[in-house]
């Protein structure tokens, strides 16, 4: 009977762990250190909690729609509530009780209804998903483009470098909102195309300059030289050595880009340029076009624009705070001494 080969022994006599397990252990330890640094920053976790809250909201919406909410009433886009609560929410017209919209918050409509009789809370939760999608999508595109461009232009230098840096200058020159207004006149911008446009503008803009200066400092490290000496091709060095070292910084900037993407969407919706059915910006815009943002009307129905505006602010601030928290991990010079 053949015996299984004994595991190799280390000089100290103990069994060596497999490289995979070692890598996993190191990763876990790294994550734990980073997590404690992130936790100590205190502002990072605040942001994370807000993001989790809106994430839960986004997940809860389809579940609520499928279970306890009647789609006829609670649909965020075509719902209508003919009976929005107690009698004082109703108006008497020719002896008939007619629903009065916008109805204030009640047990039936937690955040009230809008002038068309739709549930605000349902709209808010429904839009949360779209905001997450837009923010993360735009930021991902930005970061992928930015990281690749930065790595390539730092590695090759010369003409490629000059080209991309001057391109970044040109992109930085554009007043983004005005540019998007022009684009909105040409194309019907929806969430997908907006994410793409914002991602591309961001990717070739300021982020490349920041990431390139980081890539330059990586390029002169000895391990790059070692990889080249060992016969690594250009592609190998860029993909396996420069980009992995850029990723922490890219991830950090991704957070800031999520903020700017969500903010741009909200502002463009406010100007009435996007072709969306529902979003937080659209909720405020609809309050605006129905006259609830002018003069004393602000006090009449605060619930139709406060939840959306506060959500935009909160989610933008949350991603920014998480970015600041990550900054303390990525940027050791900011750590406490």
């Amino acid at each position: 009977m053949a015996t299984a080969p004994a595991p190799p022994k280390s000089p100290t006599g103990r069994h060596l762990e497999s490289p995979w397990r070692a890598r996993l252990r190191l990763m876990r330890r790294g994550l734990a250190t980073n997590w404690s640094l992130f936790w100590e920053s205190r502002i990072g976790p605040i942001g994370l909690f807000i993001i989790l809250f809106y994430g839960l909201l986004a997940v809860a919406h389809p579940i609520l729609m499928a279970t306890i909410w009647d789609p006829e009433i609670y649909d965020p886009i075509i719902g209508y509530d003919p009976n929005p609560g107690p009698a004082w929410h109703m108006e008497k017209v020719n002896q008939y009780l007619v629903p009065k919209h916008p109805a204030p918050p009640s047990a039936k409509h937690w955040l009230g209804t809008d002038p068309w009789g739709r549930d605000i809370f349902s709209q808010l939760a429904y839009s949360a998903r779209a905001e997450f999608f837009l923010g993360v999508m735009a930021a991902l595109i930005t970061v992928i483009i930015g990281t690749l461009v930065a790595a390539v232009s730092a590695y090759y230098g010369g003409f490629v470098d000059t080209f991309f840096m001057r391109l970044a200058d040109v992109v930085l020159l554009f007043p983004v909102i005005a540019f998007l207004i022009v684009l909105g006149g040409m194309f019907q911008l929806n969430m997908y195309s907006l994410a793409l446009v914002l991602g591309i503008i961001g990717g070739f803009g300021g982020i490349t300059i920041v990431l390139k200066s980081q890539a330059l400092s990586i390029k002169v490290k000895p391990f790059i030289e070692a990889a080249k000496v060992a016969g690594g091709s250009h592609l190998h060095v860029i993909l396996r050595h420069i980009i992995p070292n850029l990723l922490p910084l890219s991830f950090l900037y991704m957070m800031f880009n999520v903020t700017s993407a969500i903010f741009s969407e909200a502002v463009l919706s406010f100007f009435g340029i996007l072709n969306l059915q529902m979003s937080w910006g659209m909720m405020v815009q609809m309050a605006n076009i129905s006259g609830y943002l002018t003069g004393d009307a602000i006090t009449k129905a605060w619930w139709i624009f406060f939840p959306a505006s506060v959500s935009i602010t909160a989610l933008c601030a949350a991603f920014y705070l998480v970015g600041r928290g990550l900054d303390e991990i990525v940027n050791p010079r900011l750590r406490k001494m």
Binding site: L173, I177, I181, V182, G185, A266, I312, Y320, R324
Partner: protein, 385 residues
């Protein structure tokens, strides 16, 4: 250095050319043209619309239009606005520019001072309650949904309390009593304000460089400050232009405060990070070990060296004041460059849209160069060659 400057100037011209071309293409690609505005007007038959297109040169092929446009651009001619025919684009920009510059330069100065001061403070008291609360408040205001925030402020101060005017930059009832050009008044505001700041800056700089005794220096500083305040108060309250300038400044309070509140967070966090890096330096430790008072180490040794990135971003922010803020100007109905651009884009006024974009572009490009040069000037370790 000269070689570097020359190289950068050539790059600026090339960048500007590419930028103008992209702007031209994007604006040209928009569907429709200026004549479409009259499409529903039965008074204007199709022939008249075609005549309009011909007169404006819009029926020529694209490449001819492009070549004409570029030729005019590099001879400093931005063309004639379509929507406000026959006023040249330059005239419109000249009309709008002082309003925007006056508002946004004041706001930029305000938010940079506030951000600089707070950033310095919270970096020094790192980890304290004030650090966390200032960071969170700064970030929330920095990312606040601007239209909502501005409308709330307008409602509170303009409508509910009635302290400040709602929108626009002057009171027509007051202005129609005098035949004074609005831009003259704006020019005075910018000119007098700039002169006062320059005077104060020179006095403070001299006070530091001359190594005067502390008491004398303070007297001179306070005297200069008092003098400037007295002159400004005299000008505001004695002349007609002063009266009108007061009206404008009164209308400017709310937008300026809004921009300050929204933007100071960025400067504060930049200053904080820069400060945190500097406080690790050996000379800060040496200054502390010498037994210098905490405030002196913070203000003289740490903050001044941490100022570099803030100065660069300040120069860029100043350049972008010509751009104005589309959101701020829309909400406060402040008819400046931002609204001009928005209006031009919405009305398909090609020369005006391109002109406004190119004009702001030139400012921004030159500001980049100035920021780089200033950086080398302030930090002698940086050399361009």
């Amino acid at each position: 250095m000269w070689k570097y400057l020359f190289k950068r100037l050539i790059q600026i011209v090339i960048t500007l050319y590419i930028y103008a071309s992209i702007v031209f293409i994007i604006v040209y690609m928009q569907p429709g043209d200026i004549s479409q505005i009259y499409i529903n007007d039965p008074q204007i038959p199709p022939e008249a619309r075609e005549a309009l297109l011909e007169r404006l040169g819009l029926n020529q092929p694209v490449h001819i239009q492009y070549i004409n446009f570029m030729k005019n651009l590099f001879t400093g001619n931005l063309g004639i606005s379509f929507s406000q025919y026959p006023r040249p684009v330059w005239e419109l920009i000249k009309e709008r520019l002082p309003r925007t510059v006056a508002l946004f330069v004041i706001a930029t100065l305000l938010y940079f001072s506030l951000g600089f001061y707070l950033g310095k403070l919270i970096a020094w008291k790192r980890g304290g309650l004030i650090d966390y609360s200032a960071t969170v408040i700064g970030v929330v205001l920095f990312t606040v949904y601007t239209p909502w925030f501005a409308i709330l402020l307008l409602w509170i101060f303009g409508y509910k309390l009635g302290w400040l005017p709602i929108g626009k930059f002057n009171d027509p009832l007051l202005w129609r009593q005098y035949e004074i050009d609005q831009n003259l008044v704006f020019g005075y505001i910018v000119g007098v304000g700039g002169a006062a700041l320059l005077f104060l800056f020179v006095v403070f700089l001299l006070g530091r460089k001359l190594y005067l005794p502390r008491a004398l220096r303070w007297t001179i500083h306070l005297g200069a400050l008092g003098l400037v305040t007295a002159v400004i108060v005299y000008l505001l309250w004695s002349t007609t232009i002063g009266l009108l300038a007061r009206d404008i400044l009164y209308h400017m309070i709310l937008p300026a405060i809004t921009v300050t509140l929204i933007a100071f967070g960025g400067t504060m966090l930049l200053m904080r990070d820069s400060m945190l890096e500097v406080t690790r330096e050996d000379y800060v430790l040496a200054a502390k070990a010498k037994g210098l008072p905490d405030k002196a180490v913070r203000d003289k040794h740490a903050a001044r060296n941490a100022l570099l990135p803030v100065v660069t971003s300040f120069v860029l922010a100043l350049a972008f004041t010509v751009d104005g803020g589309i959101i701020t100007e829309t909400i406060f109905s402040w008819p400046g460059m931002g609204l001009l651009l928005l209006q031009a884009v919405l009305e398909e006024d090609m020369p005006l849209a391109i002109g406004a974009l190119v004009f702001t572009g030139i400012f921004a490009l030159v500001a980049h160069l100035v920021a780089d040069i200033l950086y080398a000037f302030l930090d002698p370790r940086i050399r361009y060659d």
